[in-house]
């Protein structure tokens, strides 16, 4: 019973200067989970924007058939009226409004007086929350929820709109493993209820676990649609479609020969900036030259907080503990002092904390080490260009010019700009926080290669990652962090995903 709910035929969408989609055809069966994957910039999001009316009818060529009827959506309201709801990668909830207010935002049920009937709304919201397995009071402000729960609120909101085709753009990108698993279970449950789902994802293990079919998009074209039920489709098979080649290995090989200790922290304790609790407690760790050390922890374990507090105390208050760089105790009280001591921190959120998106590649690369390019406060603009050009070559940053605005680059290239910026500070130790989040498979491989090159050059690297295979593939040694405490340390040869996960969830309820 291959009943097609959605058909997109010959979709072509051009922006000034670029063809984002070219003659894309997509067919989605009723009641299936249909995955769409492809490298960043392949056109996945554009295709979904065409489908949901963000790019209105008339701004593209081709036709959309929903339930066999041709559709012309002029905006997102049109598509939602037909039961097509999109949940974007960046969640679109209003932080200070309650769960119920968010669910019915723009869709408020008015009582007889014309005012909103909040009792009805809250009761209705509670039912919706129950159906997505979220046990929270509907009057709770959304800001008090974690990202995983916010994602569930978004889905509840979609359900309130009588969704028939749910589109999820990278739903698990910001979620930890447990929340991701929960979300995938929910999608299966929705499928049981007859809701069709389109899911854009970079996480191939999730796709192979949950999708009924997978459409691969490359360079604006739909390359192939794989039937996940009949074929034995592997991750390698999908990757081949995405990049047009086989990646022999996700993680490039590396000779490991750690040298002397570069960074060590002892008894490191950090308090939350406003709440009265310890976010990091009594942490000790060390990293040696030419070594990659991983920090594994669930969301909320204090990984980023630990890294940022070490990096010039840029997070938290009442920080205590000792910090040693090359065996010498240092006080890095400001970011500038941390940089001077050879510490670099590459943030997990490059758009918010890593880049000046409205400025060009050149000035972003030099931003953290302008003093290396200046004399008596005057910047040598020509040297700056030279440095930026060198970074562009070495990092393979794909841009027309170093004068190009960073905000226009793809995620992977933006990440290379951030890395370039920190390498230009000539650090001894790099702390990489989720270095491959939200970037495509090809760029991930490039980032891994860059990390290996740094380590070969004698730098010490700390990698924080939510993806355990990444830690297992890249690191020499892995620490596990749970509720702000180190719960384990092991060489990578002894570590497995299971053993790490066990340590990552250890003692959580005791401290929580």
């Amino acid at each position: 019973m291959d009943d097609t709910i959605l058909e997109m035929r010959g979709i072509t969408k051009t922006f000034p200067g670029v063809t984002a989609l070219e003659d894309v055809t997509l067919a989605v069966r009723r009641g299936e989970i249909h995955a769409i994957c492809g490298e960043n910039g392949a056109g996945k999001s554009t295709l979904m924007k065409v489908l949901s009316g963000v790019h209105p009818s008339g701004s593209y060529d081709g036709e959309i058939l929903f339930d066999g009827k041709p559709m012309q959506f002029r905006g997102i309201r049109d598509s939602e009226a037909n039961g097509i709801v999109i949940i974007h990668q960046e969640l679109a909830l209003v932080p200070y409004l309650s769960i119920a207010e968010n669910i019915f935002l723009g869709n408020e049920r008015r009582g007889r007086s014309g005012l909103i009937d909040w009792n009805f709304a809250n009761a209705e919201a509670a039912k919706l929350l129950a159906s997505v397995g979220l046990h929270e009071n509907p009057v709770t402000p959304v800001i008090q929820l974690g990202v995983g729960k916010q994602q569930l609120v978004e889905i509840a909101k979609a359900l309130s709109k009588k969704v028939r085709l749910l589109i999820l753009d990278e739903p698990t990108a910001a979620l930890n493993d447990i929340d991701s698993a929960h979300l995938l279970d929910l999608l299966r449950a929705l499928k049981e209820q007859g809701i069709t789902c389109i899911m854009i994802s970079h996480k191939l293990n999730e796709i192979t676990a949950i999708a009924d079919s997978t459409t691969v998009i490359r360079d604006g074209r739909a390359v192939e649609t794989l039937d996940m039920r009949s074929d034995e489709v592997t991750q390698q098979r999908i990757i081949r479609g995405m990049v047009g080649r086989d990646l022999d290995s996700f993680y490039p090989d590396r000779e490991s020969s750690p040298g002397e200790e570069v960074l060590r922290i002892e008894d490191w304790t950090v308090r939350h900036p406003v709440q009265d609790r310890r976010v990091v407690e009594g942490v000790g760790l060390s990293v040696r030259a030419g070594e990659v050390v991983g920090i594994a922890g669930l969301m909320g374990a204090g990984r980023t907080e630990l890294a940022m507090s070490v990096f010039g105390r840029s997070y938290g208050r009442d920080i205590s503990g000792r910090l040693f760089v090359r065996g010498r105790e240092v006080q890095a009280r400001t970011v500038a002092e941390a940089i001077d001591n050879g510490i670099a921190y590459v943030t997990e959120d490059r758009k918010r904390y890593g880049l000046n998106l409205i400025d060009d590649v050149r000035r972003n690369v030099s931003a953290a080490a302008l003093d290396r390019l200046s004399k008596l406060g005057w910047v040598n603009g020509n040297e700056e260009i030279k440095v930026a050009e060198a970074s562009r070559r070495e990092m393979n940053i794909r841009t027309t010019s170093v004068m190009a605005v960073v905000g226009k680059l793809s995620g992977g290239n933006q990440q290379k700009v951030v890395l370039s910026k920190w390498l230009f500070t000539d650090p001894d130790v790099l702390i990489l926080d989720e270095p491959t989040r939200g970037i495509d498979v090809g760029a991930k491989f490039e980032i891994y290669t860059i990390i290996n090159r740094l380590v070969a050059a004698g730098k010490a690297v700390i990698v924080i990652s939510s993806e355990l295979p990444e830690l297992l593939g890249m690191c020499d040694r892995i620490y596990t962090l749970a509720a702000g405490r180190i719960t384990g340390e092991m060489p990578v040869a002894e570590a497995t995903q299971e053993s790490l996960m066990e340590l990552m969830t250890k003692d959580k309820e005791l401290v929580g």
Binding site: D219, I358, R363, E389, M403
Partner: protein, 416 residues
């Protein structure tokens, strides 16, 4: 992944470091150059159109030697304020108090020089010191206490207006001694003699043109050496010729009137210094970085508080310079001096391409924005249009300028 475009500009290979290379490389694609700099070139075009329009509407009176001199004298203090304002706006702040600070610094100067009989330079130094102190006050609250600049300077607007009334005891003071009046009303004239025109003014104009050409050429040579795209040599020459012609025309007109206004020299020096400060110094870069993305700047080791503090100190200093010029021009101090100056300065910055969200803007842009306002006001005054219509027109121009900017930004994604 969109395809990788090959750079459209030709590159000399191997890299040629001789100045001769500057003669035969670069792009002549005028359309691309204009489009790439639409935001900047847009306001130059607007200025030319507005000058042309009012020159016709006023039968050429707008461009008469006497009137050009007048525009310079009349709007110099707004332009000085606009320099400080655009730097604050780039950094993501605003200053609503500058009108009051102009009044206060002028009042302090007037009290010392007119009432107490101190020499003129004591008044000037005291005014500058008061301006710096006011700036430090604002800087403290914004940078170290973390209060938004809008609130701090709104409070400052009331506070320093009140102090002005207190200092002046609610009366106007005048006149200043003649040396003090020279600041805004003085001219350098006849230093090299002249026959109906001032040769010295022409000489300064010629020096400015030469400086522009030489520095432009040096930048060009350096860019080529670092293999960066440049405009083609004929285009470069055309640019220098056009700018040179405008400067020399301007100098010629001034030379036929009263010579080189002292206030124009002050303004030119400030524009030069602050133009370099914003583009070429670490401080300037950090201002852009803070305005573009505060968190990223802080995590890159920028001392955000220090930079914010000095931005406000600088604004206070420039407000005091404007205060001295204004008190000199009006030959005294009045309790209501400088009213609404902040709005003119803010408008100049925004018309000149600064972004409301920070991180974008240039000193030269703010000057052009200020000149657009100045020429419009002056032109409408010459035509005898009443105050109410003038205000309506200026308001609409501000709105259209920012709307154009927003439209432009949306079209281009993001751009400086």
């Amino acid at each position: 992944m969109t395809s990788i475009k090959t750079p459209s500009t030709e590159r000399p290979t191997p890299p040629d470091s001789t100045p001769a290379a500057a003669l035969h490389s670069g792009t002549s694609d005028l359309r691309a150059l204009v489009l790439n700099n639409l935001r900047q070139s847009g306001i130059y075009v607007a200025l030319v159109v507005i000058v042309g329009l009012f020159a016709i509407l006023t039968d050429g009176v707008l461009l008469s030697p006497g009137n050009i001199t007048n525009i310079v004298l009349q709007y110099s203090y707004i332009l000085v304020l606009a320099i400080g304002m655009v730097i604050l706006i780039i950094g993501g702040h605003i200053d609503l108090s500058v009108g009051s600070v102009v009044a206060l610094t002028g009042a302090v100067s007037a009290v010392l020089v007119i009432q107490q009989g101190y020499p003129w330079w004591v008044g000037v130094l005291a005014a500058l010191a008061v301006g710096v102190a006011v700036g430090a006050w604002h800087g403290f609250w914004v940078a170290y206490a973390g209060i938004p600049a809008f609130i701090v300077t709104l409070a400052g607007m009331l506070l320093f207006r009140g102090l002005t009334l207190r200092v002046l005891d609610n009366i106007s003071l005048s006149p200043f001694p003649s040396e003090y009046q020279q600041v805004a009303a003085g001219f350098l004239n006849g230093l090299l003699g002249g026959n109906g025109f001032d040769a010295f003014t022409l000489l300064i104009g010629a020096v400015a043109v030469a400086g522009y050409a030489v520095s432009g050429f040096r930048t060009r040579v350096a860019r080529i050496r670092y293999q960066q795209p440049v405009e083609s040599f004929p285009l470069f020459v055309a640019r220098v010729v056009v700018v040179g012609a405008v400067i020399m025309y301007f100098a010629w007109q001034l030379a036929h009137a009263r010579g080189l206004p002292i206030v124009l020299i002050i303004l030119a020096v400030l524009v030069l210094i602050y133009g370099l400060l914003t583009r070429r110094t670490v401080f300037g870069r950090q201002v852009y970085a803070i305005g573009g993305n505060l968190s990223a700047a802080a995590l890159s080791g920028v001392k955000v508080r220090t930079v914010n503090f000095w931005m406000f100190v600088n604004m206070g200093f420039l407000a005091a310079v404007a205060g001295v010029i204004y008190s000199s021009r009006s030959n005294g101090a009045q309790p209501a001096a400088g009213n609404m100056f902040e709005l003119d300065a803010i408008a100049a910055a925004f018309i000149g391409g600064a972004a409301v969200t920070g991180g974008v803007g240039t000193v030269v842009g703010a000057m052009v924005g200020g000149l657009i306002m100045a020429v419009m006001s002056n032109g409408m005054q010459l035509m005898g249009i009443d105050q109410s219509t003038q205000s309506v027109v200026k308001g609409l121009v501000l709105l259209v300028a920012v709307a154009f900017d927003v439209y432009n930004k949306r079209r281009a994604g993001t751009a400086r």
